[in-house]
Amino acid sequence: MDNLDAARMQMAFTLIFHIVFACIGMVMPFFMVISHYKWLKTKNPIFLTLTKSWQKGVAIFFVTGAVSGTALSFELGLLWPKFMIHAGPIIGMPFSLEGAAFFIEAVALGFYLYGWNKLDEKFHLITGIIVGMSGILSGILVVSANSWMNAPSGFDYINGEFLNIDPVKAFLNPAWFTQALHMTLAAFAATSFAVAGIHAWQIYKNRNTPLHKEAFKIAILFGAIAALLQPLSGDLSAKDIAQRQPAKLAALEAHYKTERGAPLYIGGIVNEEKGEVTHKIEIPKALSFLSFGDFNAEVKGLNDFPEEDRPPVAITHYAFQMMVGLGTLLMFSAVVYFISIKKKHWQDKKRYWLYFALLSPVGFLALESGWIVTEVGRQPWIIHNVMRTKDAVTPMPGMIYSFYMYVVLYATLSIAVTWLMARQIKALNHTKL
């Protein structure tokens, strides 16, 4: 593995882990606050136990997300110094605002965690809401910086120099809204289905069922709503990519030939050498329609892009298929949940809980696949059509060893956090209400 690939792998590996920690830290405060609100309204001890249990999860994931985020802020420079020397001043604004939002979240979390029986009840609850809101804001701001890499704006690129920098225009780049919306909904869907799935498994195993049923109800509601809204947001993203990143669109659809009325491929095996896709299901004209809102619109194929400007096709296509497939499964599951509110006898069946328990990792798999599409699909550019990734990598050799170190660190952290959560659930199951 050469230095560039090792740096790419390290960045990918760090992002894959950070996104999980960050999403949970971003969304779980909302579950905690709803449960807290229900405790204040009903004084049912189940909600107090649940709130205090979830707040521990929030604290663990917040700090793990904070430290992995700190690592990422260093890594942007450590791995891609030539990118940061130019991009830093341009996309610094969302990062500095993100720092402020993150600080507010941390202060609010300090109040929330230590505020039991010390703060006014309403003020205490509000600090929990601030934790959630500032977490979402942090996420949106960071995604804005990423979307700038896909839709660079707010500067003039003249003779290899970045001139006339406008940080506000860079922050509000054309892709920020669609990407931020898609990511926020994905974070809710992934975290909610994961948390709901964990509680569904406890119900399936008959452990402290009343408590876990309340927990499931709170978590799944957020996930179900997000999963139903996500296809609409996905449609906005697809149209945005079609307009500004046609090579990415062609790669995620493994679409090699330029044609009008282009079909949509479902599944298929990509042969990058021959430039073809076999064993696929074709839906006539659907790609043209989904990309441009016109059944006969022209979709540019990969063959019409210079070879050195094409992203890796197979990985982008498979990741896209996985994201869409799993997202559709979550949407279907959301419908199942809403029907089960009316048909209550479904919830008496064990297989209902087993079904939701098995869905636990699905949202995160879809989310990670989506990020693979975003990042791999932008290659070979680190700044779309402006700077190639290979020109941004650190000149320091031996990045493979740095990559190994991060693999060990994050694998250990993941095992530790999973183990802590298992202990948390075990303790919860032994709580006498």
């Binding site: 604290a59 663990i60 917040f62 700090v63 793990t64 904070a66 430290v67 992995s68 985020g69 700190t70 690592a71 802020s73 260093f74 942007l76 420079g77 450590l78 110094p81 030539k82 940061m84 020397i85 130019h86 830093g88 001043p89 610094g92 604004m93 990062f95 500095s96 605002l97 720092g99 402020a100 993150f102 600080f103 507010i104 941390a106 202060v107 300090g110 109040f111 965690l113 230590y114 505020g115 010390k118 703060l119 920098i165 406008d166 940080p167 506000v168 650190t394 000149p395 320091m396 050799p397 031996g398 170190m405 660190l409 952290l413 530790a416 802590l420 202990r423 948390q424 303790a427 919860l428």
Partner: protein
């Protein structure tokens, strides 16, 4: 805040329990906020001073990665210890992780700063043909940067011990006074060792430092402040002793930074200015506005947090 843990690390086994209690209770409510200062510092550097930042991030890759490792372990160890649902032997593991990472993080941070001013950094004309060890290891793995790292860590111990005097019980107070005394001695010895090593190595920064009356004056004033500091500690004037300790550290850092400002990096081939290739005014303006808005929202919140939980005794209302 995280440097308070240093006082715990240097203590004897008998006192660990009570120190641990004080340190963890003082750190608890603000721990979640404590990683963010470094993110903000990094963001300011890359936005406003990208060329300067680029030199640091490329040629100090390894010590900064080690700082990062320390920050990560320190952060998770504290929170794992506090929020683990089962309090068993794993607590000891979290404690060891916390102690170790709290010790090494400021050492590597100090080593990185020491390397910047040492004149050891080599910026090769062609990075592809440069010798790895010469460019990425030897500059920071030298006596001067190592001593600078130890000096920085000792400064942290000094500040921590002085801070904890005001937070501790009567019994612990005597112990923290002793720790602060030891830390002061270590700071002075290491400071002298740093200067002597630099002088013997004929380091440009040290010769410039010794020729700079303002820098020497700042260090001398910092030394003289020891007398009022000890008097205020003995009389139990918590606010005054923190003020003097903080002022001493600021004077030392000011002397170190002021000697060569804005040429804060000295390489084998010459200095690199902080202001070289700084971001355009439009960017600096937006950064400044963002920081002011953020500060106006954060500082009152943080102050209220410290006050609400009586985390810092000087904020408590007198009855």
């Amino acid at each position: 805040m995280p440097i308070l843990a240093r006082a715990y690390w240097i203590s004897s086994a008998d006192h660990k329990k009570s120190i641990k209690k004080t340190v963890y209770s003082v750190l608890g409510p603000v721990w979640e906020a404590n990683h963010i200062w470094i993110i903000i510092l990094i963001v300011i550097l890359w936005i406003a001073f990208p060329v300067f930042y680029n030199v640091i991030i490329i040629y100090l890759h390894i010590p900064l990665t080690l700082v990062l490792l320390g920050i990560t372990l320190r952060g998770v160890a504290f929170v794992f210890r506090h929020y683990d649902a089962v309090k068993d032997n794993s607590q000891k593991l979290y404690d060891r992780m916390f102690e170790f990472s709290c010790l090494v993080t400021p050492i590597f941070l100090g080593m990185a700063f020491g390397t910047l001013i040492s004149g050891n950094i080599i910026i090769p004309d062609d990075p592809a043909t440069a010798n790895f060890a010469d460019v990425y290891i030897h500059p920071w793995l030298q006596p001067f940067p190592i001593l600078a790292g130890c000096f920085f860590s000792a400064l942290c111990v000094f500040l921590s011990a002085t801070f904890l005097i005001g937070e501790a019980t009567e019994y612990e107070k005597r112990m923290y006074m002793r720790k602060a005394g030891i830390a002061t001695f270590v700071v002075v010895v290491l400071g002298m060792a740093v200067l002597l090593t630099g002088y013997l190595e004929d380091m440009k920064f040290i010769s410039d430092f010794l020729d700079n009356y303002y820098a020497l004056g700042a260090v001398a004033l910092s030394g003289l402040l020891l007398f009022p500091l000890w008097r205020s500690i003995k009389r139990g004037h918590t606010v005054t002793c923190r003020f003097f300790a903080g002022l001493q550290v600021i004077l030392i850092l000011w002397a170190a930074v002021g000697t060569h400002f804005p040429n804060l990096i000295i390489t084998k081939t010459g200095p690199v200015s902080l202001l070289e290739g700084r971001a355009p005014d439009s960017v600096i303006d937006v950064l400044g506005i963002s920081l002011i808005i953020g500060g106006l929202l954060i500082i009152p919140g943080l102050f209220h947090l410290l006050k609400s939980f009586k985390m810092i005794k000087i904020l408590e209302e007198k009855e």
